[in-house]
């Protein structure tokens, strides 16, 4: 499957369009800085269109994962090539983009959430040009991570997101923004250096034969790393179930777990979420967290299936802790935004549990949960943002009875809250059900224990709803306005997606099914 425009592939357009937008903003005169918003909106709209094209043209029967033939819309060009040096071998780093069923849902999610995030940033007043150029840079990094199939390229995109995110939280954030921004930066950097080391170890362990010259060379190609035959004898990561492979898997796992975030590496998340401006919280929860999960299924599992099987129980256990611990923490929060942040921790635990099931149901559930959690949490953060814009407070205790004052808004809140607690008929239910179903086959007791998380989620969600939206309205909020058209434009599409996927999830399942099956087969064989 190919789709090009001006001889440049669609994935390149998708990834680098924001950089073009960023350059435009750079040369914008200071007087017209408001135009930056429109440029950014234009970029994300085009990306949304491109993502739709991908969705329509995507061949659902091809698996991908570890076969280069199964990858779609692929673009392979030599990028850096240095002739033989004695130890490094011939260096060839490829510009290798391609997507399969694991990445398409993420690309759709990224396109949707980015679009919503631009709308959510519309009220930004402080250095508009800076904000939107960083936003676009971040956007490039996000798409890049989901389309890169060369580890080196993947890593560059992965790290590219750090700096814009630091500034977006640090400059435009709340009171404790500096602390939150540095904490986010240090935690994620710690994760990525571990990934870097594993990447190097893999590079030196894997050799492929150059198709043209017949020369043996090391490679950063992820697909080549997934084939055990490519590992050189006596190299660090050669063989199965070796000491070094376990260490490498753990390092990789921690790297992705920090992003996910998994207990005990989750403490950056509540700070970052609370301090970030609404749009950035939306992106953080909606997309950045998913990269952790995506990294696990795209890199950690296929490259180290043996180690994944070996550590499957601890991983599932961490997922269980995340679910229950996140829910308990959420219940104790007084700050509305922090509550949503901890609910993210809890819901991402379901993703981990689903992945640890290592069967089709669990894995599909996990992938779907990533998509659904992206849309639901984005909606929740926008909901908090709407409230904060009007009242400049997020303390749950200060609210009450908003339902009568803001009926349209509250209707949407109901959808988001119930989707989050997993009400049947809304998208959250399907993915949670699949994940637990899959996990039950492999980890019975853990799954049973984990379902208590659902009860806890229902408890804190309903309790919050009651405290904020039901009861009597404090007098100071008598003049609150119901939501504007711009805010409706953010919330309604998300609500539609949530309801639609709750009733009819097949379009999304179709996208990932073949690939997930292939992945599960791959892992099981080991």
């Amino acid at each position: 499957m190919q789709f090009t425009f001006l001889n440049i592939g669609i994935l390149t357009w998708l990834t680098f369009l924001p950089l073009v937008g960023m350059l435009c903003i750079f040369f914008l005169p200071q007087k017209k800085s408001q135009l930056a918003k429109w440029i950014t909106l234009g970029c994300t709209t085009i990306q949304l269109l491109l993502a739709t094209i991908i969705y329509i043209k995507f061949d659902r029967t091809l698996a991908g994962v570890n076969s280069i033939e199964g990858m779609q819309f692929k673009e392979i060009f030599p990028w850096i090539s240095i002739n033989s040096t004695e130890w490094f071998g011939k260096i060839s780093i490829q510009y290798f983009l391609g997507i399969d069923g694991l990445s398409v849902p993420m690309i759709l999610l990224t396109a949707i959430i980015s679009f919503i995030a631009v709308l959510a940033s519309w009220k930004i007043e402080k250095s508009v040009k800076g904000y939107f150029s960083l936003f676009l840079l971040l956007n490039t990094g996000m798409f890049g991570v989901f389309v890169a199939l060369d580890f080196f390229l993947f890593f560059i995109f992965w790290e590219l997101m750090l700096l814009p995110m630091y500034f977006l939280i640090g400059v435009w954030g709340g009171e404790r923004r500096e602390y939150a921004a540095v904490k986010f930066f240090l935690y994620t950097l710690f994760g990525s250096v571990l990934i870097l080391l594993v990447m190097l170890a893999l590079y030196f362990s894997v050799t492929v034969t150059d198709a043209i010259t017949g020369e043996k060379m090391h490679t950063f190609n992820m697909l080549a790393m997934m084939n055990p035959q490519n590992f050189e004898n006596n190299s660090l990561l050669f063989g199965l179930h070796t000491y070094w492979r376990y260490i490498a898997f753990i390092a990789l796992f921690i790297g992705f777990a920090i992003k996910l975030p998994l207990f005990p590496f989750h403490t950056w998340l509540p700070d970052a979420h609370v301090e970030a401006p609404t749009a950035i919280s939306v992106i953080l929860a909606g997309i950045l967290l998913k990269m952790g999960g995506y990294g696990l299924v795209r890199i950690a599992l296929p490259i180290f299936p043996d180690a994944a099987i070996h550590y499957v129980y601890p991983i599932a256990f961490l997922g269980f802790i995340n679910i229950v611990y996140g829910a308990l923490c959420a219940m104790a929060q007084k700050d509305f935004k922090k509550l949503i942040a901890y609910s993210s921790v809890s819901h991402m635990g379901i993703v981990v549990l689903g992945i640890a099931a290592l069967n089709t149901q669990g894995m599909v559930g996990a992938m779907l949960q990533m998509f659904n959690h992206g849309t639901i949490t984005a909606m929740l953060f926008v909901i908090v943002g709407v409230l904060y814009d009007r009242t400049h407070t997020r303390q749950i205790s200060e609210f009450g009875g908003l339902m009568n004052k803001m009926p349209k808004y509250s209707a949407l809140v109901v959808i988001a809250f119930f989707a989050s607690l997993g009400l049947p008929g809304l998208s959250g239910f399907i993915s949670e059900a699949f994940s637990f179903l899959g996990a039950f086959q492999t980890h019975q007791w853990l799954t049973i224990a984990s379902t208590s998380g659902i009860v806890l989620t229902a408890a804190y969600m309903l309790w919050t709803f009651q405290r904020v939206y039901l009861g009597t309205l404090p007098e100071k909020w008598n003049s609150l306005q119901d939501i504007s058209k711009r805010e409706l434009l953010m919330l309604v599409p998300l609500a539609i997606i949530i309801i639609f996927l709750g009733i009819y999830p097949t379009p999304m399942l179709e996208l990932m099914n073949t690939s997930v099956n292939a992945l599960v087969e791959m892992v099981k064989v080991k």
Binding site: I82, L163, L196, L197, Y203
Partner: protein, 513 residues
């Protein structure tokens, strides 16, 4: 030139002892002169340097006005000629002056870096407001800058312990003067004095080590020592002691722990242009020399040189990074950052093989751009705010956006994050460790780069996240030509991060044989 003199004496002594007859003596002298003359052919770059120094001194005496600009013109003509000679250099006969110096592509690589660093320093000096106080002595300043370059040129091609010593001394003495060139400023003189004391002590220790080498092997030539080392008939304890003495001298030059104590004081006291030059050129030429010595020991199993280097590099990285966390003066801050970078560069030496060598060379090349860039920005900020405190950076993002964005990129590159060149440098260094199966050392190194992020980000935070505290004192000094110069440093830092094959090819072709 005194090198030629010493060599002359050496040679005559040798010849005298071997031949007694008068005719033979005449023949020998003729032969010797021919050898020297043929060797001269290979040191055109050094001769050009000498010529530039002399021209500047003469110009200083005879010119009465437009001194500054004429010095710069002379300097750039010199640098241009130098670069031309270097690029055209042939390597047919590489051991010249009877093995005192070696002309090879390895030396050429570092000489190119030294020239680049020198050229940037001269351009920095044009914009420096610190140097306006010494406009009387600008001639000395430029002449001695070139003397230091000559010293470093000899340093990177030294393959004889005596040349090594003389080259290090020539470089150091030049720097003693340069560091204290603003003699009106007390801190500058203090820095110079401290530098001299440390320098004198460590070179004394090194000289003692050299004498031990001579005692053990009866020769000072690297090649002869290498052969003797492989035969391995020496006393390991004595060899270890002598090597450690040698390391003291070199370690002080490249400021590795525990020989780093002079660094922050000297960096703080010296004019910032000199600090920049010192932190880049002097450091990487020291590393080139260290690398030659390490390669000489590469097959020696009797002394635990590798373990020593590993320990030193861990100490250097960690102490440099940890102490930098507490610094509030930008020069001291960058001093500790440069100590930490010496630790990273040392990682290239610990594998004692070609892989590390290549990584180290690549990192040196990248380090040149990013570190000079950082100093260039630091110089402007010090001029704009008349303060070297880190608080001077507060709110700079608003008043000087281009300068601040450039600084962010340099600092990110020093941390080693993609897509900047610093990442590629670190990538190669860590790869060489992975390849040598020193995974734990690579882990320590990456943890160090996380620590370094924490202090580099303090400056970024001050620039963009904080509001202006100190008033802007000097306006209009960061204009178009200054921006172009900054771009010249900024572009390689970004481009080599995304497309590093040209630099890597250069390194690969100049690797030590």
């Amino acid at each position: 030139m005194f090198l030629v003199g010493i060599h002359f004496l050496n040679f005559r002594k040798n010849m005298d002892s071997r031949f007694r007859g008068n005719d033979l003596k005449k023949f020998c002298i003729r032969f010797m002169i021919e050898h020297i003359l043929s060797s001269l052919h290979y040191i055109y770059p050094e001769i050009t340097l000498l010529g530039t120094i002399l021209t500047i001194i003469i110009a200083d005496v005879f010119l009465s006005s437009h001194k500054k600009i004429s010095f710069v013109i002379i300097a750039f003509i010199g640098i241009f000629l130098l670069a031309t000679f270097l690029i055209q250099q042939q390597f047919s006969l590489n051991a010249i002056f009877d093995g005192m110096l070696t002309i090879d592509s390895f030396a050429r690589f570092f000489k190119l870096l030294i020239i680049a660093a020198g050229a940037f320093t001269i351009l920095f000096s044009l914009n420096s407001s610190e140097l306006t106080t010494i406009h009387q002595r600008l001639g000395e300043y430029y002449a001695i800058l070139f003397t230091a370059m000559l010293g470093m040129f000899l340093m990177v091609s030294a393959t004889h312990l005596l040349t090594l010593y003389l080259a290090i001394e020539l470089t150091s003495i030049s720097f003693y003067i340069l560091v204290g060139i603003i003699k009106e400023r007390q801190s500058s003189s203090e820095a110079s004095l401290k530098y001299i004391l440390y320098g004198a002590f460590s070179s004394g220790v090194m000289l003692y080590g050299l004498s031990l080498f001579y005692g053990m092997f009866g020769s000072l030539e690297f090649s002869a020592i290498q052969i003797a080392l492989i035969e391995g008939s020496t006393n390991p304890l004595l060899l270890l002691f002598a090597t450690l003495c040698l390391l003291v001298g070199l370690g002080y030059k490249i400021s590795i722990v525990p020989f780093h104590f002079w660094t922050p004081d000297v960096y703080e006291g010296a004019p910032i242009t000199i600090t920049a030059f010192l932190s880049v050129a002097s450091k990487i030429s020291g590393f080139a020399l260290l690398m030659r010595i390490v390669m000489m020991f590469s097959e020696v199993k009797e002394i635990p040189l590798q373990q020593i280097l590993i320990i030193i590099s861990i100490l250097t990285m960690t102490i440099g990074n940890l102490v930098a966390l507490w610094q509030n003066n930008i020069k001291r801050f960058l001093a500790y950052s440069s100590i930490a970078h010496a630790g990273y560069l040392l990682l290239g030496c610990v594998t004692m093989g070609k892989e590390g060598l290549m990584a180290m060379m690549l990192y040196s090349g990248i380090y040149l751009f990013m570190n000079l860039g950082t100093f260039y920005v630091a110089m402007f900020v010090a001029d704009i705010k008349q303060s070297e405190h880190l608080d001077a950076y507060k709110g700079l993002g608003k008043s000087f956006p281009f300068l601040s964005i450039a600084m962010v990129i340099f600092l990110i590159s020093l941390t080693g994050l993609p897509p900047t060149a610093g990442f590629i440098g670190k990538l190669y260094l860590f790869s060489s460790l992975m390849n040598a199966k020193l995974v734990w050392l690579a882990l320590i190194a990456v943890i160090n780069s996380i620590i370094s992020l924490y202090y580099y980000i303090r400056i970024i935070r001050n620039m963009f996240l904080r509001d202006e505290e100190l008033p802007i004192i000097t306006h209009n000094i960061f204009l178009f030509p200054q921006k172009i110069l900054l771009l010249l440093l900024l572009l390689p830092t970004i481009i080599f991060g995304m497309y590093f094959s040209p630099l890597m090819e250069l390194v690969r072709s100049s690797i030590l044989k």
